[in-house]
Structures are given as structure tokens and as C-alpha cells.
């Protein structure tokens, strides 16, 4: 088993730190795949798609069989989600931006890893779930700290956080349709 396999095995048995390392390690690789397949959609949309892929990897990590190679599993999820995203966003209407580059004013260059879709969908969650995801993601709070701030036990925070991600996946499905 390679390093990704070792990390994911530890992650799936509850090691949060190994899981964070796994996600951080695979993110740039997946970003490369998404941009290679959906580059025509522009960098910002690619980042939206990448975040959808990461959410899917997260929610479906129970389908990885311990000991199986990680890459075919991971790339199969990525391919499936990229195709889904391309279909949803209608590939047909996109024109290569290079054709218009002379006419377009230069943009102020937003952060290429910033994505709007996920923020919009988080805003559609109930207040407490949205705050949880914000506090832990943006402010770097631990589940214990978030629990203290929201007056919840750490166990309740874990359950609520898991439900929030499942709800995000459902929202995304509806959003796409």
C-alpha cells in the first residue's frame, strides 16, 4: 500500500490528522485533473467543481476498500463528478476566452482557490450548520471550540457537521437540476 493508502486507512479509522493530510495531499492533484478536463470553463468554475469533487470524496470515502489502490478509486469519483458538472453547466455555450482576450479588461485577479458555489450553498443551510462549517473551516476552530461557542457538546457538533455536509451534497444535486 502506498502513502495515500496508508493515510486513507488511518483516516477511515478515525484519525482526523491523517485525513487532513490526505485531503491536502490530493487536492492539488485533483485540481490538476479538473483543470485538464474542464479548463474551458475557467479557473473559478474549475475550483467550484474541485470543491464538489472533494465533498463527494468526503461523503463517499466509505466506498474505498481498505487495501485497494487509492488512485483508481479517487480518479473514478473525480471523473464522475467532473462529467456531472460539465453536463450541469452546459458545455455547449462556452467559447475559448483567448478569442476575446484583446477585448476583455484585465480582472483584478481574485484568489484562484476561492469558490462562490460552496459559499452560496453553505448560506442555504440552517444557521447553526452554516456557522459550524464557517467556524471550523474559515476560523480554524476545533470541534470542541465550535461546540463551546454554540453551546453544544462535542459529540453533537460532530453529528451536526456530518449532517451539514450531507445536506450540502443534497443541495448541490438540486442546485444542479
Amino acid at each position: 500500500m502506498d502513502d495515500w493508502g496508508t493515510l486513507l486507512t488511518a483516516a477511515n479509522s478515525g484519525d482526523g490528522r491523517a485525513y487532513a493530510t490526505f485531503l491536502r495531499t490530493v487536492t492539488p492533484v485533483l485540481r490538476g485533473i479538473v483543470r485538464a478536463k474542464a479548463g474551458g470553463l475557467g479557473v473559478a468554475v474549475c475550483e467550484d467543481v474541485l470543491q464538489e469533487v472533494l465533498l463527494a470524496v468526503h461523503l463517499k470515502r466509505n466506498t474505498w476498500q481498505t487495501g485497494a489502490p487509492v488512485r483508481p478509486w479517487l480518479y473514478a469519483i473525480t471523473r464522475y463528478k467532473v462529467i456531472d458538472a460539465l453536463r450541469a453547466r452546459g458545455r455547449g455555450i462556452l467559447l475559448p476566452i483567448e478569442d476575446f482576450s484583446d477585448d476583455l479588461a484585465a480582472e483584478a485577479g481574485p484568489d484562484p482557490t476561492e469558490s462562490a458555489d460552496m459559499a452560496k450553498m453553505i448560506a442555504m443551510l440552517d444557521d447553526r450548520s452554516a456557522r459550524l462549517v464557517q467556524m471550523i473551516g474559515l476560523d480554524g476552530a476545533s470541534t470542541a471550540e465550535a461546540g463551546q461557542a454554540l453551546n453544544m457538546s462535542e459529540g453533537a457538533v460532530r453529528v451536526a457537521l456530518h449532517r451539514a455536509f450531507k445536506a450540502l451534497a443534497v443541495l448541490r444535486e438540486r442546485h444542479v437540476k
Partner: protein, 211 residues
């Protein structure tokens, strides 16, 4: 939201769902036990049940339907994983179908001409065509549910496998009641019932199994 922030939030969620395979076997055991009870309570087992396991032609009904069930479940299990499309094999299912067709052809040749039509139509065609789909609901439902918990990248093929497996096992349970022992009857009508259930399962699953 920045991707780094999303990753941080995802990493904090250490809850993980049960693997899809862990739903199938207990779920199917329950579904089949229910089917056996339903047969026992309504139509009743055939009187020579024990003998039917040991006599070649009636026993082939159990063998063929069980083979469909096992190969279908294996296919569904492989397809419940995202990378399963590349690992799944269709030939075991095709082999079982070919065996059934071979048996049908052999029975056609072995049955005297004037007895063929009676053997094909039998006496319980309607019961068969109603019971097998009804008995299929739970087992097919269980497999589709497990697949839904998984992440198939081939929804149509996966729900096809669920349909074959669930209705094959349902037909096996139905065979404990049915006394039509000519392959001309059972390959034809069990086959038609299984085909119908599989078609419906594929239609439902193709939508249900998207994620």
C-alpha cells in the same frame, strides 16, 4: 469559500458511513426470510419439497436462480464502488443465462411434440408471473438501497445487477412452492418474470443511484 477552508472543515468531520457491502448480506437475509415466510403462509411449500432438491430437473430451478442471485449480487457489490466499472465482470451472468437457454433447448428437443405446448403453458403461469415480482420487491429494494449508500459510476448497470440478483433469489424462493418441473415452463416464465423485474429495477435505479 476557499478550498483550503473547505478541506479544513471536511477534515473535522470524522464520522464515516457504513460501507455499502455491509448492508447487502444482512438485508438480503432478512428479505429472503420474509419471502420464505410469505410463501409458507400463503401458497404453501410443494409437498415433495425435500425430493425436489434431489431430483435433477426440479433442482435445476434452485441452481439456476441461486446462480443468478449470487452472480448478480457479486456484480452489484463490485459496482457499488466508484472504480467498480473497471473491475466488474458480466460473463458469469451471461454463463448462467446460456446454461438456462441450453436447458430450455434440451427440454424442447427431449419433449415429444404433442406435449410441448402443454409443458410450456403449464397450469400456474399467472401465479408465477405475479408471485415472483411481488417476492422481488424486498430483495431488489435492499440491493438498490445498498447501492444508493455506495457510489456507483454505472447506475444503469448496477441497478440491472440489483434486479437480476433480487428477482433471481425471489424466483428461488418461489420454486419451493411451484411444482412445474419442465424447463420449458420454468426457464420461460421464471425468465420472463425476472426480465420484467430487472427492467423495472434498471429504470428506477438509473435515476435513484445518481449522486
Amino acid at each position: 469559500m476557499k478550498t483550503d477552508h473547505l478541506v479544513a472543515a471536511l477534515a473535522a468531520d470524522t464520522q464515516i458511513d457504513r460501507p455499502p457491502a455491509s448492508w447487502i448480506l444482512p438485508g438480503l437475509a432478512l428479505a429472503l426470510a420474509t419471502a420464505v415466510l410469505a410463501i409458507w403462509g400463503t401458497l404453501g411449500f410443494r409437498e415433495d419439497l425435500m425430493q425436489s432438491f434431489a431430483t435433477p430437473l426440479p433442482a435445476m430451478r434452485y441452481v439456476l436462480t441461486l446462480a443468478l442471485g449470487v452472480t448478480g449480487v457479486r456484480l452489484a457489490l463490485a459496482l457499488s464502488r466508484p472504480e467498480g466499472r473497471g473491475l466488474a465482470h458480466l460473463w458469469p451472468l451471461a454463463a448462467v443465462a446460456a446454461l438456462a437457454l441450453g436447458l430450455l433447448l434440451w427440454a424442447f428437443a427431449a419433449t415429444p411434440q404433442d406435449g410441448r405446448q402443454m409443458a410450456i403453458v403449464g397450469k400456474t403461469m399467472a401465479t408465477c408471473l405475479i408471485s415472483i415480482p411481488l417476492l422481488s420487491i424486498l430483495p431488489v429494494g435492499v440491493i438498490l438501497f445498498a447501492l444508493h449508500k455506495g457510489a456507483t459510476t454505472a447506475p444503469a448497470l448496477a441497478s440491472f445487477a440489483a434486479g437480476i440478483a433480487g428477482s433471481g433469489l425471489a424466483a428461488m424462493v418461489y420454486a419451493t412452492h411451484c411444482t412445474e418441473d419442465s424447463p420449458l415452463f420454468y426457464v420461460t416464465w421464471y425468465g420472463l418474470a425476472i426480465t420484467g423485474v430487472t427492467l423495472v429495477s434498471t429504470l428506477i435505479g438509473t435515476r435513484l443511484l445518481r449522486w
